[in-house]
Amino acid sequence: MATTLERPALKQAAKPRLRKPRNSWVAWIFVLPFLVVFVVFWAGPLLAGLGMSFTDMRSTDVRDPLAVDVVGLENYLRLFNDELMRKAAFNTLIFVVTALPLTIALGLAAAVALNSGIARLPAAFFRLGYYTPYITSIIGIAVAWRFLLDPDAGPINQVLGWVGIDGPAWLSDENTALPVIIVMTAWRSFGFDMVVLLAALQGIPKELYEAADIDGAGRWQRFRSVTVPMLRPALLFCTVYSSIGFAQFMEEPLVMTKGGPAGATTSASLAIYNQFGAGAYGYAGAAATVLFTVIVALALLQFRIGRRS
């Protein structure tokens, strides 16, 4: 490569910087696959979605999408007066701020436990077990959860009954339905975080721990001063990825409660999905645009915080 040695060797203490490859078009060849797919399959549909949010487009207009009336911000204004939409937004917020830490905590706990010198075979066994919920399709598993949560005969309420607690009708009680969905989602998702964090844990050089041991660090200290900082990229990844997924959560309430009782488990995505299903494309497009904007803002915020700390 031509432009070697452009940096003085003196600056050795600084992080070694990459030299530019000679032709930056090489980089474009590398990103080309993404660019093509994005431009062809995502950019247009995305703009179409944005565009229709300013119109009164319905499913009945799909043959002739130009023959719709522009209604300006009407869909957006309606959104803020829609009681169910407001409730859905609130539920989504609650869901993200509770399910996210819960899922990551569970994933981290499992990963740390599995990485703490468990023999190979049992470790593999546990990993598989903990990962199972993540890979199982929700349709089959929903029936099992309904059984668990059955107000009269479900194991959960029976156990509660032994200690004299009269368990609620979990899924049809407005106060418990959303918490149940949150726990169920955490149960279903933590396996993914576990795998990612486990991979990251195993990449932490043993020397760092040995150094910490020499400094006389206790277990908790080792965890805080070595493990957590080393896991930061992986944790950031889990946080961003999970929050993007959770902000769009929909499958669990769709299958378990259809968003009920009285909208208590209706999420923003589910409400949008229902509006699309009912053919209100303009209105659904507006709701989706708002959700999308919030998610983007959320992700940016997380990157900021993640970088700074």
């Binding site: 490569m1 070697t4 070694p16 990459l18 030299r19 490859p21 090489v26 980089a27 590398f30 990103v31 696959p33 993404f34 797919v37 994005f38 062809v40 399959f41 995502w42 247009g44 549909p45 995305l46 979605g49 799909v62 436990a113 468990i118 470790a123 593999a124 990993r127 598989l128 903990y130 199972t132 919920p133 993540y134 890979i135 199982t136 399709s137 349709i139 089959g140 598993i141 029936v143 099992a144 059984f147 059955d150 005969a153 479900g154 194991p155 991979a199 195993q202 990449g203 050089p205 990229p233 990844f237 993007i244 949008i272 999905y273 699309f276 494309y281 659904a284 989706a288 999308f292 998610i295």
Partner: protein, 269 residues
């Protein structure tokens, strides 16, 4: 030693809680329909039967659906492993104009609600004449943003010295990528491959819309025929869920040793 025992106890207790719903599903797949729907429900089948499984194979072409699911999933895994790591490499180690803007687009794609873009995407696929083809089902997802994101993260951790040394040697960027970077990414690739496979394997809405004849149906699409507003056949659905999850479980079992290897053993250190 004591610590280790308590870890085992904790892990086992956790495992029991975690796999209970799954175990129940497995057991329920051997119950007759009336028992599954029975209220209050029971844990063990009173009357063991394999009729759900035989019903599944009698009433639909499981072999074809299985094969279709496999073709689509494998195609997507191969495409994503190659393309995502290429793109991820560019974002992690190459410098070019609009790099951050482009990466922003990757994030944008990751955040798009699928339902919003579905109809326009289908119109595109239809215009290209790809309705009811594997290509039509696969094409929008050959380079998934999650994969790019993951690969960028992993490749960022590869010391620049390795790449720089190769550049000094005069290695072309493609050779650096294929002979140095890619081999180092093995653990990440295993993870990405598994995630891609799983996502594709369980994907429902898009294949259901693009596949227009039953010989193109994937497993979830075929199984959805039994889900009926008036009379959902839970036995078939549950047995179907077990059949669907089995290959992924096997795959994970097989691939997990790559996770165990970890990055340290790949020659990075």
């Amino acid at each position: 030693m004591k610590r280790r025992v308590s870890t085992y106890v904790l892990l086992t207790a956790g495992l029991l809680v975690v796999i209970f719903p799954f175990a129940w599903t497995m057991l329920a797949s051997f119950k007759p329909e009336s028992e599954i729907r029975q209220n209050p429900p029971a844990l063990l089948p009173a009357d063991w039967t394999t009729s759900n499984y035989s019903g599944l194979f009698e009433r639909m072409n499981m072999g074809t659906a299985f094969l279709n699911s496999a073709i689509i999933a494998i195609a997507l895994v191969v495409a994503n492993l190659l393309l995502c790591s290429m793109v991820g490499y560019a974002f992690a180690k190459l410098r070019f104009r609009f790099r951050n803007t482009l990466f922003g687009l990757v994030m944008v794609q990751m955040m798009v609600p699928a339902i919003v873009v579905m109809v326009p995407q289908f119109v595109l696929i239809a215009k290209m004449g790809l309705v009811n083809t594997f290509l039509g089902i696969v094409l929008p997802f050959v380079v998934a943003p999650l994969g790019i994101f993951m690969m960028r993260q992993f490749i960022s951790d590869i010391p620049d010295e390795l790449i720089q040394a190769a550049r000094v040697d005069g290695a072309k960027e493609f050779r650096i990528f294929f002979s140095i970077v890619l081999p180092l990414c093995r653990p990440a690739l295993a993870t990405l491959g598994l995630i891609t496979f799983m996502t594709s394997w369980n994907n429902f809405l898009w294949p259901a819309v693009v596949a227009q004849s039953e010989d193109m149906y994937t497993l979830p699409v075929a199984l959805a025929i039994f889900s009926n507003a008036q009379a959902t056949q839970y036995g078939l659905l549950i047995a179907g869920a077990v059949v669907v999850v089995a290959p992924i479980l096997l795959l994970f079992l097989f691939l997990q040793r790559y996770f165990v290897q970890g990055i340290a053993s790949t020659g990075l250190k």
